[in-house]
Symmetry: C2
Subunit: 250 residues, 2 copies
């Protein structure tokens, strides 16, 4: 039932010494799905998680319209989700970093509402949704956690609506940078020096801006001494001002 693609684990799935081969020992457990579960519950979650699905850059995890089967957790690398409207225009709906869950937009209509593609080499955990439903019926913690996850995504999407409908280009970009910085911090990475996994085009699409505007704002921020940016490599020099700009009234 478990599709583990590891060679160096002749023992079994629950050996806590084999890092990253089960949830309990995964260094992301504190920010990923196991977050709300008790030890013995994590073991049950572990039973249904399918690991070892390394995607190359540009490979799709699923495509809009595919039958919904599973949700996914990013273990390493990064993933972009996007949907294409009837009229052919693309909308980037989210960037997913390690420890983050995607695919939940497929629950509603049994088909994914977006496509998910690796922005760089990425390891992914797959969790079949039927098993999650099953487990949620048995473990109240699991059910509660999933309700929360879904609800939080709603709140985040609504904040994003505010961002793109009421804020200036500078505020939107500052906001994205602050978000990525904070998410890096959660994973104990540097919040001030990191690599943007996505292209300018993706950033612009996500924020409702053109690529030119994105480029101009980055240049302006650099000129103002808020950050240094070389292609995708970012060094934040003045996080406070950046945060202030990100949450500017209007």
């Amino acid at each position: 039932m478990i599709a583990v693609s590891e060679k160096n684990a002749p023992s079994t799935k629950n050996c806590p010494h084999n890092a990253a081969i089960n949830c309990a020992s995964c260094r992301l457990s504190a920010i990923c799905l196991p977050l709300a579960l008790a030890q013995d519950e994590i073991v049950q979650l572990d039973e249904i998680v399918q690991r070892g699905r390394p995607l190359q850059k540009g490979q799709h995890l699923y495509r809009e319209g595919d039958t919904f089967t599973s949700i996914y957790a990013v273990r390493s690398g990064s993933v972009k989700a996007y949907s294409v409207s009837d009229s052919g225009e693309e909308q980037v709906t989210g960037f997913y970093l390690p420890g983050e869950i995607l695919g939940m937009d497929g629950i509603g209509h049994n088909r994914y509402a977006s496509s998910a593609v690796a922005m760089e080499v990425a390891a992914i955990c797959e969790i079949p949704f039927a098993n999650i439903e099953d487990l949620s019926g048995k473990l109240p913690n699991m059910q509660k956690h999933f309700f929360k996850l879904l609800s939080q995504e709603i709140v985040e999407d609504q904040q994003h609506i505010t961002l793109v409908s009421k804020h200036t280009a500078e505020e939107r970009i500052a906001s994205l940078l602050v978000s990525i910085s904070a998410r890096n911090a959660r994973r104990n990475l540097s919040p001030l020096s990191f690599r943007l996994p996505m292209s300018r085009t993706d950033i612009g699409n996500f924020l409702g801006l053109t690529i030119e505007t994105v480029s101009r704002v980055f240049s302006r921020f650099a000129k103002q001494g808020l950050l240094e940016i070389d292609k995708k490599e970012v060094t934040v020099l003045d996080i406070d001002t950046l945060k202030r700009v990100a949450s500017l009234g209007h």
Copy 2:
């Protein structure tokens, strides 16, 4: 346990002849919560629904930051949800018509992420979330339905992001009109002649436009013969063109 505020129902809550006092006989049941439930399951849902909470225009159902306790279904009238950011700006996050569910943004952090206020006299069903979690643990249909509800709201929010970040003023307003028209049709009301329950200010805020632009676009649509509009009363004259404008590539 049930807070029914009816006087003409001396019998009991499950009498199917007493319209609108239980879910099974409510004329909205086909589009509201009972939608996915079997007859005997609706009875169980009915047990936890609290009815008779008529709100006057301007009265709040809950406020941003309040402890999350319940989700709500609109029985009649209409409700607007909005949130206020740190910086004090308001964002209308949704309009809710009869048969629609609101309050689910509170699940994630045990506090409502938005405020909900009646845009006109409105009857509301309250469903304590603890009971829903309970029922969801027992009825797989209920759990599934709730996962779906939450997921669908995510998808709708993401479509709204596309709307406000990539579409013109005319497209946004056409889109809102088509949406309201369709939701009216679902309730067997006229899709071509209806009253907008919300103000121009609310429409503009919801769509990321100023009140002036909203007004101008309405005038333009009227001049083009797409609709007639007198204050809040709308008569759609050319729904096809309106739909075409609403889903215009960009």
